[in-house]
């Protein structure tokens, strides 16, 4: 028996497409973010609030992934910004090819912020690079504080943790300090914002994080 070393990535085809997308995003100075959470943590609400706070001249667009229904796209389209639903038909995550296909009839020249809402799932989406500049994980206070420990992959790979639904803190036994400590056990330098899409508390911090990232992506485009 002969053993032959391979040393290549299993998802090399996905990674190739993701690298191509990333290069196109950089070329057009688009900031692309990949939002990931459990079902029901409030990704769509966070996006609604975000789009709602934007001036209409902002060049933002959203791709939203779900196994079934166009419901999220319909909700988000009320903002007036370009929104497209990616219906995976059973697949538990988005992959780079789905993003590539969804972008075919959009002019990248007209976009400078692309927000991707992944399928609600804390496991599978973490394996697939979509060409994003950063992953953002959303955790709501109605979930367990130990989620970062149970799902270390996505908390490790995300640059920002959005702790959502903080308006419910008085009514749930959620220790926000413990949740943040758990996130930092898995990802020491994790940035964290606490938000409520109902009271809008913390939205300013989230929007200023976005602004800061958008500044970085414009700078990257001008030097490339």
């Amino acid at each position: 028996m002969e053993r032959v070393s391979l040393e290549r990535k299993v998802l090399s085809e996905n990674d190739r497409i993701a690298a191509d997308l990333r290069a196109r995003f950089t070329e057009h100075s688009i900031l692309c973010l990949n939002l990931i959470s459990s079902p029901g943590s409030g990704k769509t609400s966070l996006l609604e609030c975000t789009l709602d706070s934007f001036d209409r001249r902002e060049r933002a667009a959203v791709l939203t992934g779900d196994i079934q229904t166009e419901n999220d796209a319909k909700r988000l389209a009320r903002s007036g910004f370009p929104v497209k639903q990616i219906t995976t038909g059973g697949t538990c995550h988005l992959d780079a090819r789905m993003i590539e296909r969804a972008l075919l009839d959009w002019r990248l020249e007209d976009i400078d912020l692309l927000l991707i809402e992944n399928v609600g799932n804390l496991v599978c989406p973490s394996s697939y690079d979509l060409g994003e500049a950063a992953k953002v994980v959303v955790l709501s206070v109605t979930e367990g504080e130990d989620k970062p420990l149970k799902y270390p992959s996505i908390f490790f790979k995300s640059e920002l943790l959005v702790l959502n639904k903080i308006d419910l803190l008085p009514y749930v036994p959620f220790d926000i300090a413990v949740a943040e400590e758990n996130a930092r056990r898995v990802h020491r330098d994790m940035e964290i914002v606490r938000v409520s899409c109902q009271t809008r508390e913390g939205m300013a911090e989230w929007l200023s994080w976005l602004d800061c990232k958008r500044g970085n992506s414009r700078a990257a485009a001008s030097t490339s």
Binding site: V4, R8, V10, T91, V123, S126, F156
Partner: protein, 121 residues
């Protein structure tokens, strides 16, 4: 449950790679899965067996090398594997460390039966 897609990617890679061994049969494929890869080894094995059954690749075994999160301590220099929910350095207790691995999802090797020629390498 994306392991079925991942297992399928492994089989695609085995099919592509085996062209390098005309007349040889690939018996085993080794895959390295890091704790942070987001792939469950048991689910992966289950999907792999189901996909291989009844195909031209049979018999093909899967060997998974599972690797924990690894760090190098910036305080004392120790390299270590972190336990599930604690990434502090076991030697000095410092939390100031550099991540050094544990997110890999790689095809490590193929085992090919004796006598096969390696073409084009």
């Amino acid at each position: 449950m994306h392991e079925i897609g991942i297992a399928n990617s492994v089989l695609d890679a085995v099919r592509a790679e085996r062209r390098r061994f005309p007349g040889g049969h690939v018996h085993k494929v080794g895959v390295r899965i890091g704790e942070l890869a987001g792939v469950d080894p048991d689910a992966m094995s289950f999907c792999f067996e189901a996909l291989v059954r009844g195909t031209d690749l049979e018999p093909l075994a899967l060997e998974i090398e599972y690797s924990p999160r690894r760090y190098q301590c910036r305080t004392c220099g120790q390299s270590y594997a972190a336990s599930r929910d604690d990434s502090a350095c076991p030697a000095c207790g410092s939390l100031d460390s550099q991540f050094s691995g544990g997110d890999e999802l790689e095809l490590a090797y193929l085992e090919v039966e004796d006598g096969a020629r390696v073409a084009g390498t």
